[in-house]
């Protein structure tokens, strides 16, 4: 693949970076990233990956845009309320950069479908919003050996971990399974600062691009925690856990299964 004149102009600020150059940009254009969840994390990740010229971007989400999403899910606009999130996200990514091919999956990830989706991608971004899905993404990427970026956000806090499956600390090395339902904060205690999702989702896109280009150091074996109130970023070194039920010495998880989804304890929850 060689860059045409328009592409050389479009990606000029990448190309003049010594560590990227024309070769790096061509690499991005021939790479693929899957974003699971077109929500708060997936929105900035999708926009930046499209702008960066990642050639193929997959987006998975079974939901439609809701008015309450717009406070943080910046890939969706007011006119998109009621529209399928994948369609709304696809339109914005293509509007930013028609070079990009977007593949849409209108579904929720489940044990029965996720491996078939992730296997075609170079890197996966976990932009899901519940623990069952987060463990499923971790496990599916482990079995398919696809590197991924985990992230979680709550209120004013965010965390990130990049996983090279079988080589570096996985999500289950740290958390062996979903938390008990009665311990999870309810809607009334939860909420999230909108821009926090933007910061953390953009960091996930950064990890994806660095991985694709083989640049710098990744957040592997390292949990990055961020608090928006104190503006503290901390890197916590985390070794692989020999007792990890997935990638440890005696794994208990040998095939994918759906974790029970913990549902909100408030009736008629709108969040």
């Amino acid at each position: 693949m060689s860059l045409n004149a328009q592409q050389i102009e479009r990606y000029s600020r990448h190309i003049i970076l010594e560590q990227v150059g024309g070769a790096g940009q061509e690499k991005l254009l021939s790479s693929s990233v899957l974003i699971i969840g077109a929500g708060g994390l997936g929105a900035p990740a999708g926009l930046y990956l499209a702008a960066a010229g990642v050639g193929t971007i997959g987006i998975v989400d079974g939901d439609n845009v809701d008015l309450s999403n717009l406070q943080r899910q910046v890939i969706h606009h007011t006119d998109d309320v009621g529209v399928e999130k994948i369609k709304s996200a696809e339109a914005k990514m293509l509007a930013i950069n028609p070079d990009v091919k977007v593949k849409t999956y209108r579904q929720w990830v489940k044990a029965g479908n996720i491996r078939g989706i992730v296997k075609d991608y170079d890197f996966v971004i976990d932009g899901t919003d519940n623990f069952a899905a987060k463990f499923l993404v971790n496990d599916a990427c482990y079995f398919e050996k696809i590197p991924f970026s985990h992230a979680g956000i709550l209120r004013f806090d965010g965390q990130l971990l990049t996983v090279l499956p079988g080589e570096t600390t996985c999500y289950r090395c740290i958390f062996d399974g979903p938390p008990p339902a009665n311990a999870v904060p309810s809607c009334s205690q939860a909420g999230v600062l909108g821009v926090l999702a933007g910061v953390v989702g953009s960091l996930q896109a950064t990890e994806a691009i660095k991985y694709l280009l083989g640049l710098g150091g990744l957040l592997t074996g390292t949990l990055l925690t961020y608090n928006a109130l104190s503006m503290d970023f901390r890197k916590v070194q985390l070794n692989r856990n020999p007792d990890c039920p997935l990638c440890g010495k005696n794994p208990k998880i040998t095939e994918l299964k759906d974790e029970e989804q913990i549902v909100c304890d408030l009736n008629n929850c709108e969040c």
Partner: protein
Amino acid sequence: MNLFVNGKNTDITDPLTVSELLVREDVKMPQMVSVELNGQILKRSAFETTRLKDADEVEFLYYMGGGKCL
């Protein structure tokens, strides 16, 4: 003794276990926390019995979901 709790130097006078440290640090929902002690994830079943010693490095790692309910 001195502990490093989430990177902060914490002075402790009495001996204590990981469970007691969770209480002391005012962790409201210990079920939402994984504990790393000196670079290794500690089994939840060992929180009660693991006694901390001088210069131990303890990290409380919180479960964090998404921007939805959880």
